[in-house]
């Protein structure tokens, strides 16, 4: 299901990202439409995390344009429409914080400055905690939760802001099966509401049925963009009906041009159908 007529929610055009001077993303073109559930697959270091982080402005692009909800990223300020679940090992810090407090911080973008929580804020927080099945733990400290439960608390935090675009960076890495299921259920409810979801994942598990588009990253480029795949490896032997953009355009030899792999060899390239 490609909702190409729906409004564009997130777009990156010719995006190039360099970390520490080394290009890690090159020539990325990705357009996500409203209501799409896109999963980014790829090996470690393929750049999938960097891609979503650059979409959110957490990593600057050295070239290319990014826009969110039709507004160029530098001018974008409607952050209440974006919910982010960062990739991390734990939700704890040096001082104890209850599940309620962590989730409540997801409501900040919708709260008036220097004002206590309103009724709507409280019910949104309560609903978000219930959606990930942590209601009975909401007063407990985050450090007493299991890794999977902590990750669920971070998802609830993003849910509490009631975003239109939900960006998740490996939300189920190292999460127990029960939490993965609770989490897939919460995502399914969002999908039903028409929320756009960009999900970076290693393995999909119970979330697989929700996905309607897969993007596979390889070595800082998009290697596959099409109907859902179960894993990144599948992209290698699926005969996908899309064209490689750089077949038409002059080849980018942007680093180490003398060391070309067989795939990057122009003569080998011409022999392909």
């Amino acid at each position: 299901m490609r909702l190409t007529d729906a409004p564009v929610v997130a777009e990156i055009h010719d995006g190039t990202v360099a970390l520490g001077g080394r290009p890690v993303l090159r020539g990325i073109d990705l357009t996500v439409h409203k209501g799409e559930v896109v999963t980014l697959l790829g090996a470690n270091g393929s750049g999938k995390s960097t891609l979503v982080r650059s979409l959110l402005g957490l990593v600057p692009v050295v070239r290319g344009e990014i826009s969110l909800f039709g507004t160029p990223l530098p001018r974008f300020s409607d952050w209440r429409r974006v919910g982010f679940v960062p990739q991390r090992v734990s939700a704890t810090s040096g001082v104890p914080a209850s599940v309620w407090e962590v989730v409540a911080s997801g409501r900040l973008s919708r709260r008036p400055f220097l004002r206590p929580l309103r009724k709507a804020d409280k019910s949104a927080i309560r609903d978000a905690i219930a959606a990930v099945g942590l209601t009975d733990r909401s007063g407990d400290g985050c450090s007493t939760l299991s890794g999977g439960q902590q990750q669920r608390a971070l998802i609830a935090r993003a849910l509490a802001g009631q975003p239109d675009l939900f960006v998740l960076d490996e939300p189920t890495a190292g999460v127990d099966l029960q939490s993965q299921q609770a989490f897939a259920d919460a995502l399914a409810a969002l999908v039903a509401q028409g929320v756009t979801i960009i999900l970076v994942a290693h393995e999909l598990g119970p979330m697989a049925p929700l996905i309607d588009r897969t993007v596979v990253m390889r070595d800082g480029r998009i290697a596959y963009d099409g109907p859902p795949l179960a894993s990144a490896e599948e992209a290698d032997w699926v005969d996908h009906g899309h064209h490689h953009r750089d077949l038409q355009s002059p080849m980018h030899t942007d680093y180490a041009p003398t060391v070309a792999s067989p795939i990057d060899n122009p003569s080998a390239r011409e022999q392909r159908p």
Binding site: A91, S93, G94, S105, R157
Partner: protein
């Protein structure tokens, strides 16, 4: 109570009250960011500020606020740019601060003894105008740290999330650094620059032995800090001991009392943590009847640890988990 009638004791108590409220309030955010020693570093840098005041004839409190603020912002920048803790750069900043202070004091023609008043505090010689400055600055610190606590909490908890929530992370980071610098100078006369970090960190460490939430930790730490500083000043008014050191030792005593309680609470919480229920695995699938005889019926007060396990309760004894099942117990 006759000592309380003396003006200098009253002034000291007022100064202690405000310091005791403000220091742990900022300290909570420093501990949350795992920067517990930042207050100590700012204290070292403030020594140079005090010395500059002695050299130029300006009020040492004023010059200390300025230098400590600059130092705190530099520490924040080093931390942000360095991506790691940048501890070597910070250490150089700290020792540069204290060495600069001693050097400039010498240049000002003062003996290093005058620095002692700032290094270890001299709350009983505090003047009414000093108390006003202390009260005003401490009020600013408390209003900012409590009033902006949702924002400051979110930024300290998860910077990336805070950025995507539209918060200006750098602004809040610098704000905490500046508040820490102001607090250090406020507490300079009470507990002294070398001990100020203790008043910022120890009440927080004590509070979090017993608390589960951030807000309760923040408020409890402020309460504990106030109690410690007031009772420290009161003690030193009756017994001839240094007030700053007394305040810090009382705060530490509070921690020593709270710690075993915290250990017990955490141990209890860990033991009664519900056992994970494997979804899709029916109870009958792991149906193993316990062979041994039970002398009593497991129940609410049988003395054995009762741990929730899905829809029932497991009783733990001798390394086994026994769940009641009709007339017998199952091994879970």
């Amino acid at each position: 109570m006759s000592l309380l009638a003396h003006d200098f004791v009253l002034l000291a108590l007022v100064a202690a009250l405000f310091t005791g409220l403000a220091a742990p309030a900022v300290g909570t955010y420093l501990v949350q960011r795992r920067l517990a020693l930042m207050g100590d570093g700012i204290g070292h840098i403030a020594v140079t500020g005090v010395a500059l005041g002695l050299l130029t004839g300006a009020a040492p409190t004023l010059t200390a606020v300025v230098v400590a603020t600059i130092g705190a912002v530099v520490i924040e920048v080093v931390r942000e740019k360095g991506r790691t803790s940048g501890d070597v750069a910070l250490a150089m900043l700290f020792y540069g601060g204290i060495a600069g202070g001693v050097l400039i004091t010498g240049l000002a023609g003062q003996s290093a003894n005058i620095l002692n008043r700032y290094l270890f505090g001299s709350i009983l010689t505090i003047s009414p105008s000093d108390v006003w400055v202390t009260a005003a600055l401490a009020t600013v610190v408390v209003v900012v740290t409590v009033g902006l606590s949702p924002q400051l909490f979110a930024v300290a908890q998860d910077q990336e999330f805070a950025r995507v929530a539209g918060l200006n992370v750098r602004f809040y980071n610098v704000l905490v650094a500046v508040m820490a610098a102001v607090t250090v100078t406020v507490a300079m006369r009470t507990v002294g620059l070398l001990l100020v970090s203790a008043l910022m960190v120890v009440p927080v460490a004590t509070a979090q032995q017993l608390t589960r939430g951030f807000r309760t930790t923040l408020l409890a730490a402020m309460g504990l800090g106030t109690v410690a500083s007031l009772s420290g000043v009161a003690t030193s008014a009756y017994v001839d001991v240094a007030p700053g050191a007394t305040i810090v030792l009382i705060a530490l005593a509070g921690f020593v009392l709270a710690w075993p309680v915290g250990v017990l609470l955490r141990r209890r919480q860990r033991l009664t943590e519900p056992f994970a229920m494997t979804p899709g695995l029916a109870r009958d699938a792991e149906h193993t009847v316990v062979p041994e005889e039970h002398e009593h019926v497991h129940g609410d007060d049988c003395g054995h640890l009762a741990v929730p396990h899905g829809d029932h309760v497991d009783y733990v004894h001798d390394g086994h988990r026994h769940a009641p099942h009709g007339s017998h117990y199952d091994e879970h």
